[in-house]
Amino acid sequence: MEMNAEAKRILAVSISKLYASRSQRGGLRLHRSLLVSLVMKSARDIYHSTVALVEKAVETTASTEEAMEAMDTAEKLPEKQPEITDNTEDKENQRPVAKRPRKRPGKVSAVPDFLPEKRARLEPGEERHDTAQSPSVCRSSVVTETRSALPLLSRVIPAF
């Protein structure tokens, strides 16, 4: 929750900065606007990925059966390894593919909007732990199609 709040606050600060820069003497500074927009993008990505992670966590804890299934998959994986070619890149690529059929299609990726009741059920400590451990992973797993929710975020406002 803390990470979410931080990202939200940075988003708000960034929007106010972009707004203020329009009335700046000497015209809008492209360099500054670009940097602000990049911060906004980071904040947006982290905000969305945090929420997505939380939802994933809720989903896994909600169904014990599913959790057990996931553990089974993890145990079986090393056995499968010899079958996979030596190329490590392939191994990495194949893992999620092998996992996918065993898992129920995730609601997180299917549903574009987040469910508020699920977020409310989360414990703040758990969420912070998740995001702090792998911020870069969070960034890469972001759904970029959510741009419509915050149309300004990744765009630099051209000076002219």
Partner: protein
């Protein structure tokens, strides 16, 4: 108007050296020499110094301010009465370089703030410099006049035309001595070539051309031609929504007139060779250090943006300044810098507040000493940092009025970086972020430095014991 106030150096009786300075591999202390500018606490925006630059000999020192003025200081030779002094810098010429303008087509005001000053190598008795604001570059001639012509045939001494009927004989005008006058006259005005804000100008080593860079383009000019320039770099995407980086600084190589570099907001530097093609959109070398994924934050892009790039005098190295560090690159090694110095690493945990108060957008510049053995850059709380490249030692000094006693040795300062704060250390929380040193200059031959602290210009020199 900048008020000028000098403080003269006098020998202190019990002046014991206590700490090593950083430069040229030799230990010495930096001592206060002069401070210029108004003493008032209330600083007028127009008086804030926006650029500082020594000329090639170090005899002249130019400053530009947010009010569009250029002040030139001249080094005066040491007097016999005060042999411990190597002379002082006194005002030589002051002129209004740029005025505020209004772009009616874009409905935008163009600020008069001087973004950069670059001296031209001296060719004759006069001095020439380029000054630029966001849009227009001007070539100024600064020359002395100590004689004036008298005895014209058609006009009298006041310049009024004489009655032709009263002219009965022809005479040859003569040059009469007069009080020394320093004139600054605009010789060329290079306008209308930049759509975005000019961040750099750099005179080429051929002494005939120079380049000017804005956020998206770099233009090459001939110093004599104002109505034409060549666009050598253009990184503007067809669709501005796809913009991911901007040009932040550019500089010509000090010896090879075909080579220049430009830095970007992504923390990369591109070296271009003008012999390869007329358009240098494709670089010859690309300098980039891989990002440490563990240090990623919301502000990674901002703090990796390069605010200044400077070639060493030798031309072998270049130095880049980003928000938290300064890096030295060998032109022969593109994958990582050969030296990295942390300027104020303790601010890494404060980036969020620095973003909120806009300090994170401050553009710190950096400079080399004359022998390329030491580098200098600014920080907050009127602190500036020096790094000795040979010994890898660093020092933090402060430009403050408290320590501006005549010939006072500058005491090294320390910022406590967590844990228990020792005596004489300053905690990060008590740093004044309104007092920042963005612009510094190092004399090309001597250990004399000029440090711009808001509206004051401090001059320090090494202490001769």
């Amino acid at each position: 108007m900048i008020l000028v106030r000098d403080k003269q150096c006098h020998t202190l009786p019990n002046d014991v050296p206590f700490s090593a300075g950083v430069a040229s591999g030799n230990d010495f202390q930096w001592c206060f020499s002069q401070v210029k500018g108004a003493i008032d606490e209330d600083v007028a925006e127009a008086d804030i110094i926006s650029t500082v630059e020594f000329n090639y000999s170090g005899e002249l020192l130019a400053t530009g301010d947010k009010g569009g003025r250029v002040v030139i200081f001249q080094h005066e030779q040491e007097s016999k009465n005060r042999p411990h002094l190597r002379g002082e810098y006194n005002v030589y010429s002051t002129f209004q370089s740029h005025e505020p303008e209004f772009d009616y087509l874009k409905s935008l005001e163009i600020e008069e703030k001087i973004n950069k000053i670059r001296w031209l190598p001296q060719q004759n008795a006069a001095h020439f410099l380029l000054s630029t604001n966001d849009k227009t570059i001007k070539l100024w001639k600064i020359s002395e006049r100590d004689k004036r012509a008298e005895g014209y045939n058609l006009k009298d001494e006041d310049g009024r035309l004489r009655d032709p009927f009263r002219i009965t004989a022809l005479r040859v005008p003569v040059l009469m001595p007069m009080d020394l006058m320093v004139e600054a006259s605009p010789r060329r005005i290079f306008a209308n070539a930049h759509t975005y804000h000019i961040n750099s100008i750099s005179v080429n080593s051929d002494h005939e051309t120079y380049l000017s860079a804005d956020d998206l383009r770099i233009n090459l000019w001939h110093l004599e031609i104002t109505d034409r320039s060549f666009n050598i770099v253009d990184i503007k995407p067809a669709n501005m929504e796809e913009l991911t980086e901007v040009i932040t600084a550019a500089e010509c190589h000090p010896h090879q007139c075909n080579v220049f570099v430009y830095s970007s907001s992504k923390g990369t530097i591109r070296l271009c060779d003008m012999r390869a093609a007329a358009l240098c959109d494709r670089h010859s070398k690309f300098f980039e250090e891989p990002e440490d994924p563990s240090s990623r934050s919301f502000f990674s892009e901002i703090i990796s943006s390069i605010s200044d790039v400077k070639f060493s005098h030798s031309g072998r190295y270049m130095m880049t300044r980003d928000y938290l560090s300064v890096k030295v690159w060998d032109l022969n090694m593109e994958n990582r810098p050969v030296e990295t110095y942390q300027v104020h690493e303790y601010l890494r945990s404060k980036l969020c507040s620095l973003y909120e108060n806009d300090c994170i957008f401050d553009k710190f510049e950096c400079c080399w000493n004359g022998s390329d053995s030491a580098i200098m850059t600014g920080s907050y709380n009127n602190f500036f940092r020096m790094f000795d490249r040979n010994t890898r030692r660093d020092i933090t000094l402060e430009a403050s009025r408290e320590s501006s006693k005549p010939r006072a040795t500058l005491k090294p300062r320390k910022v406590s970086t967590g844990g228990k704060r020792k005596k004489d250390e300053i905690s990060v929380d008590s740093l004044d972020f309104n007092k920042k040193i963005l612009h510094t200059a190092w004399h090309p031959k001597d250990n004399v430095i000029a440090v711009a602290a808001t509206n004051n210009l401090y001059i320090f020199q090494d202490k001769i014991n």
